[in-house]
C-alpha cells in the first residue's frame, strides 16, 4: 500500500528520490568510461570522509586501498566561508545604506540612475581579474567580487522597499510627531527590512558563488582552489566532492538566514494563520 503524500511523510519520499539518484549514479559508474566523466558516488563519499574526519579506514570491500583520515579541508572551507560571510555582511550593509539613501534622496537617484542600471546589467564576474589585480590573490579579491553580487540584490530590494512604504503609515507617523530621523528608524527601516530578508536568501547563495568563482580564477586556498586542483588532474571524484560540500554549506547558510528571518519577522502574517482574537 502506498502511503498518502503529505507534509509529514514528504521527507521520506524526498529521501527515496535521493536514494534512487545515488543508486542510478552508482550503477552507471560501473562502466569505466562513464565513471571517468561522472565520478563514482562511493569514491566521492570516501573523499568527503578523508576531508572531514581524522579517522583512517583500513582496506575493505568498498575501498580496496583504504581511506586516509586527512581532515584537511577545514583550512580551505574556513577560507571560503570567511569570504562568503564577509561579502554577505559588507554587501548587505552597503546595499542597505545606499538603498535607503537613494530612495530618500530623489536628486541623487535621478542622477545616478543610468549608472546603477549599467552596473547592475554588467556581467560582474568579469570584474574578478581586475579585483585580483587590485586586491591580490588573498581573500579580499574574492570578497570584493562577491560583494558586487550581493550589493545589487540588497540595494534594489531596499530601494523598492522604501518606495513602497504605505503612505498612510508614513502620514500617520508624521502626525504623531516623527522627525526625519525617527521616520527613518521607525518606518522606512522596518518596512525595508521585510524586503531585505526576501533578498537575503538569494544573496547568501550569490555570496558563495562570488567567493568560489574568485578562488577558481586564482587563489592558494579555498574550496574553489581544491576543485581547480582536482580538475587539473582529471580527478572528477574530488570535483564532485567539492560540489557536494559547497551545496551542503550553502543550504546551511540559507537555513541560518531563514532562522533569523523567522525571529525578526514574527509580525508578518503567515498565510493560513487564523486571526487570534
Amino acid at each position: 500500500m502506498m502511503p498518502r503524500l503529505n507534509e509529514r511523510n514528504a521527507r521520506f519520499w524526498q529521501l527515496v528520490l535521493l536514494a534512487i539518484i545515488l543508486v542510478g549514479w552508482h550503477l552507471a559508474s560501473r562502466n569505466q568510461q562513464v565513471a571517468f566523466f561522472l565520478g563514482e558516488p562511493i569514491q566521492v563519499a570516501g573523499r568527503i570522509w578523508s576531508w572531514f574526519l581524522p579517522f583512517e579506514v583500513p582496506p575493505n570491500l568498498l575501498f580496496p586501498e583504504g581511506l586516509k583520515g586527512n581532515a584537511d579541508i577545514y583550512r580551505h572551507l574556513g577560507t571560503t566561508l570567511l569570504e562568503t560571510v564577509l561579502a554577505f555582511g559588507i554587501g548587505t550593509v552597503l546595499g542597505l545604506a545606499c538603498g535607503l539613501w537613494l530612495a530618500l534622496a530623489p536628486t541623487a537617484s535621478l542622477i545616478l540612475d543610468p549608472y546603477i542600471k549599467a552596473a547592475n546589467s554588467m556581467p560582474r564576474v568579469i570584474l574578478a581579474p581586475i579585483f585580483a589585480l587590485w586586491f591580490g590573490l588573498g581573500i579580499w579579491s574574492k570578497v570584493a567580487l562577491a560583494v558586487t553580487l550581493v550589493f545589487f540584490i540588497v540595494f534594489f530590494n531596499v530601494y523598492q522597499g522604501v518606495r513602497e512604504v504605505s503612505p498612510v503609515v508614513l502620514a500617520n507617523a508624521k502626525m504623531l510627531g516623527a522627525n526625519q530621523r525617527q521616520l527613518l528608524r521607525t518606518v522606512y527601516l522596518p518596512s525595508a527590512t521585510s524586503w531585505v530578508f526576501s533578498s537575503l536568501h538569494t544573496s547568501v547563495g550569490l555570496a558563495f558563488v562570488g567567493a568560489v568563482v574568485g578562488e577558481y580564477l586564482g587563489s592558494a586556498r579555498g574550496v574553489g582552489y581544491l576543485i581547480l586542483q582536482a580538475e587539473g588532474t582529471f580527478d572528477v571524484n574530488t570535483v564532485f566532492a567539492g560540489i557536494v560540500v559547497l551545496t551542503g554549506f550553502a543550504l546551511l547558510l540559507d537555513g541560518l538566514v531563514g532562522l533569523i528571518e523567522k525571529r525578526l519577522m514574527k509580525w508578518q502574517p503567515r498565510s493560513g494563520e487564523t486571526e487570534k482574537l
Binding site: V169, N172, A173, T186, P190, W267
Partner: protein, 298 residues
Amino acid sequence: MSDYALELLSISCTFHSKDDPGQRYTAVADTTLRVRAGEFVSVVGPTGCGKSTLLNVGAGLLEPSSGTVKVFGQTLAGVNARAGYMFQTEALMPWRSAIDNVMVGLQYRGVPDADARGQAEAWLSRVGLSGFGDRYPHQLSGGMRKRVALAQTLVLDPDIILMDEPFSALDIQTRQLMENEVLELWSAPSEGRRAAPRQELTPSGGGRTVPGGSHGRKAVLFITHDLDEAIAMSDRVVVLSAGPATHPIGEFAIDLARPRDVAEVRTQPRFVELHTQIWEVLRDEVLKGYAQQLRKAA
C-alpha cells in the same frame, strides 16, 4: 486668543497631473471652515468630493494652493502638531505590537520608555484592549485595530482630532459601539489621565497653557459620508457640494441633548427632522456627484 481651534480660511486645492501639466483638477474651491475649541463638527458630502483633501490641509499634510490654515489663531506651517489624525485605512505600523504602536508617538516626543509604556497601557485599557498589548496588528480584528489607532491618537492628548471616515470599514454593530466610545472619550474631561505634564506633550505649543475648550473637550473635525453618523455625533454638520471645486453649501447646528447614544438618538423626532432638512440639501449633490462619476467612467 482665538475662539477657534482650527480655521480653514478660503482654502483652494488644485491638483495637476504629472504627465500632463495642462490637465488640472480643482478639488476644493474657496472653502472656509471653522471649528471652535471643544466643538464636534462633521463634514458630509458625496463620495469623491474632496472631504479628505480638506482634512489633510487641516492636518498640514497637504499645502493648499491658496488660503491659510490657522490653529488656535496661529498660521499653520508644516504638520499640525496640535492635531491627532485618525485615518480611514490601516495606519498602524504592522511591525510594532499594539502597545508599541500606542507608545510610538510618546517616544517621538522623547518621553522615557517606562513612562510611555505606562501611559500606553492605560490607554489600551481605556479602549478596552488591556491584555492585547503584545499582539501585532494582523492578529487583531478590524474593530480592535481601530481601537488601537484611537488610543495611539489620544495618548498624545491632542487639542484637535481629525477623523477621516474612521469607521467606514467596520460592520454596523462594531461601528455604533465605536461611535459611542468616541463620544464618551470626547466628552470625558481630559484631566486626571495625563501622566506627563502638557508641556512635554505639545512641544510646538511652546508650553503655553491653552484652553482646550469650555468643557476641557477636544475639537473634532469628523469627515463622513454617512449622514446618520454625522448627526448622531456632532454639534454642527457642514454639507459640502459635489466635486470638482467643492465648497460648503449648508451648515446645520445639531441641538440634540448630550450625552447621546448613537443608536437611540436616531429614533428622536428632532433627529428625523434634522435628517430630513440636511438630506434635502445633500440629495441633489449626491445625485450630481454620482452623475459625474458615471461621466468620468464613460
